[in-house]
């Protein structure tokens, strides 16, 4: 038995050394990827010198669809854009800012419509960005130890893909998108500003089907739980629907109206707008219905600022 364990131990030690080398040199070598912007957003949220913040929470509809700098000017408040990627899942999206909330903060929750339709917590594309979560108070389900253990080989293969993608990332850096450097100091994606849309707004995919009642009930409970936790920390939460291209809204307006009515009836916190309040025009979307061109962002900022003006509490003293 001893001889067997020694030989097996030696073999495993060789493999672990290989993994450690790979981890320290190849995988962790790049910290300029898109997801690494989480580290900057965490640092921004941790700043203690900004009382009465407006914190924008959501997926990429928030990162690519709002401008915290312009909103800050319009509202006279510091605004932080924590949006990054819907595939992070609802839990991470909520738990990440929750860890940094302070009295006087106002949270604008802008969720992609997908979060109301299906479970967004199990996106394994996050694996390619595992190092981006180091030191953060949250981890997606797919990066939790049991999940990784269950899918270990795929996880390691994702690390391989990450290394393969390094070159592509460097190419993209030149283009200014999908990298950490493409965000501004308030968490807004600005790498695509000034670029023409890749297709007309109507050309991007979007589906919305009435969510299963049980599932929607779970999502509402989760959102109410978040609002209660925020309230306990002295922060207020508002829900906001992201805008859609006019043609897409027309296709699903009945389902979206039903969703709006259900949320208004069952959420324990207010809803700022209707799904149809702002409809996007032909040139407002950049590369998805949620990623907007600069003119689209300006429209959305203006609409949101107008709604927020009416609900902002007095700014607390520093």
């Amino acid at each position: 038995m001893r001889r067997f364990l020694l030989k097996l131990g030696l073999f495993l030690a060789i493999q672990i050394a290989g993994v450690a080398w790979y981890e320290s040199t190849v995988w962790s070598g790049n910290n300029q990827g898109y997801m690494d912007a989480l580290q900057d957003k965490a640092a921004l949220l941790a700043r203690a010198d900004e009382p009465g913040r407006v914190i924008l929470v959501g997926g990429s509809n928030t990162a690519w669809g709002l401008n915290a700098v312009d909103l800050g000017h319009a509202l006279g408040r510091p605004v932080v854009n924590t949006g990054l990627h819907a595939a992070l899942g609802l839990d991470v999206m909520l738990d990440f800012p929750a860890a940094y909330l302070r009295p006087g903060d106002l949270v604008v929750l802008s969720l992609e419509y997908e979060h109301y339709q299906y479970d967004t917590r199990h996106d394994e594309t996050i694996w390619t960005s595992a190092p981006s979560f180091r030191g953060l108070p949250v981890r997606p389900v797919t990066l939790q130890p049991v999940y990784i253990a269950d899918h270990f080989l795929q996880y390691v293969a994702a690390a391989r893909d990450h290394a393969v993608n390094l070159n592509k990332t460097h190419q993209r850096q030149e283009e200014g998108e999908f990298t950490r450097g493409a965000f501004d100091g308030r968490g807004d994606m600005i790498g695509h500003y000034g670029k023409p849309p890749l297709a007309p707004a109507e050309g991007f995919a979007f589906d919305f089907h009435a969510p299963a009642p049980v599932f929607l009930g779970q999502i509402i409970a989760r959102l109410n739980g978040f609002a209660a936790a925020a309230k306990a920390r002295g922060a207020q939460v508002y829900l906001c629907f992201p805008p859609l291209p006019g043609q897409k809204f027309a296709l699903y307006h009945a389902q979206l109206a039903a969703l709006d009515a259900t949320l208004r009836a069952r959420l324990n916190f207010p809803v700022l707008n209707d799904p149809g309040d702002l409809l996007l025009a032909h040139d407002d979307c950049y590369n998805t219905v949620y990623h907007l061109t600069r003119p689209g962002i300006d429209k959305r900022d203006a609409a949101l600022a107008e709604k927020l003006q009416g609900v902002l509490p007095p700014r607390p003293a520093p």
Partner: protein
Amino acid sequence: MNFISLTYLILLATVFALYWTFPTKRAQNLVLLIASYLFYGWWDWRFLGLILLSSTTDYALGLAIYSSPAGHRRRQVFVGLSLAFNLGILGFFKYFNFFEHSFAAMAHRVGLPVGELTLDVILPVGVSFYTFQSLSYIFDVNRGRLTPTRNLLDFLAYVSFFPQLVAGPIERAERLLPQFQKARVFDYDEACAGCREMLWGLVKKAWLADNFGYYVRQVYGDVPHASGGQLLLGTFFFGLQVYCDFSGYSHIAIGSARLLGVSLMRNFAFPYFATSPTDFWHRWHISLSTWFRDYLYFPLGGSRGTRARTCANIFVVFLISGLWHGAAWTFVIWGCLHGLLLISRELVRKKGAPPAVPSAEDSPWLPSWAFLWRLAGTFLAVNFCWIFFRAASLDDALLVIQRIATWAPGSGMRPWQPGRLMVFGVLLLAAEWTWRRYVHPLAAIRWPLPLRYALYTILLWACVVYSPPEPSTFIYFAF
């Protein structure tokens, strides 16, 4: 719990440590039972009730059969009860939806208004495997080939033994149960051999099967747009995928068991080196084909009667084998086609004639043309049958055949890296042919330790470096 996961490795390491720390029969079986139920419950804890119910029922019926005199009516009633219970479980969980939909479709065609009874029955993982294993216990006790155990722990550990619980090999009670009735002793050579076998299984599944599967999923997932050539290649790749997938699983199961001092039967013996359909079934899923042979084909009369009776028996066995594989008409046709292949061979076979070519194991490295001719014929016939096994529906299977036969052009589909997959296929077959006299190629390697470790490391990392964008689950988990 999937074999290809760190979770499984952690479970196996924990079981290994506890198992050999307390080397008494009772402690070892208790460790195995807990580990097996944890392993099975990892998928869905509700399945545990089913396996516990199935095991305890057969435990009690085994004792009841043994205590009844041979030939007594009461004994037959107990056997019948066990059959009804086990096949009832299998029928309900596996075939309810199939028969209900088929009946409704048939009634609809003849104009009978039949309301569909919709039950979303979840198929418990591995139910076909452990049901057959339990049945083998009842049959062996009934035939007097096995004395039933009075120790419930031994019996539960035998039925639920985690390495082979969900996808076999389907062990016979008379072979496996006695191993659980005495304390197992650690054997260094067996443990090392077990590790090598697990590694080979991992290579076959994670590297090869998943790569082939990625191509197959693309072309079989969009048959109308794939060209005849792509579908032909996809069919060959599926043949390799299903082989690597299932035999890879069996290697990991057998290797894991060897680490625990338990010997499981060989399940695959290089089936693509078969020179006839009969030879193929002596090499493919051996534990199932011998199960059908011993518990269905022989009781039906085997080849003892007229040639017509023999052919009928063969056909019944393969019809049921097809249905065992899956609750769909494609599997039924797959089974029937194999039955017809064996029947056609039976019809042309001269009784008592010696085989015209040596087996793969007895052939020289460069075999004769006659051997190659037979091998190619068998390979093509088996791969033709795989079309029905893989296709999503009967219509799809017929469309695949039509598009291959007419060499239909594709419409712009560019499936994943066919050149690379062909190289993988050739490498696999070359390695297996070279070391065909061993259970698997790694069993033949007698190099110095540093070279062996280098080879194992390369193989392990190849699983990562060459894994496809999306891995597949084990195909036989669905059965």
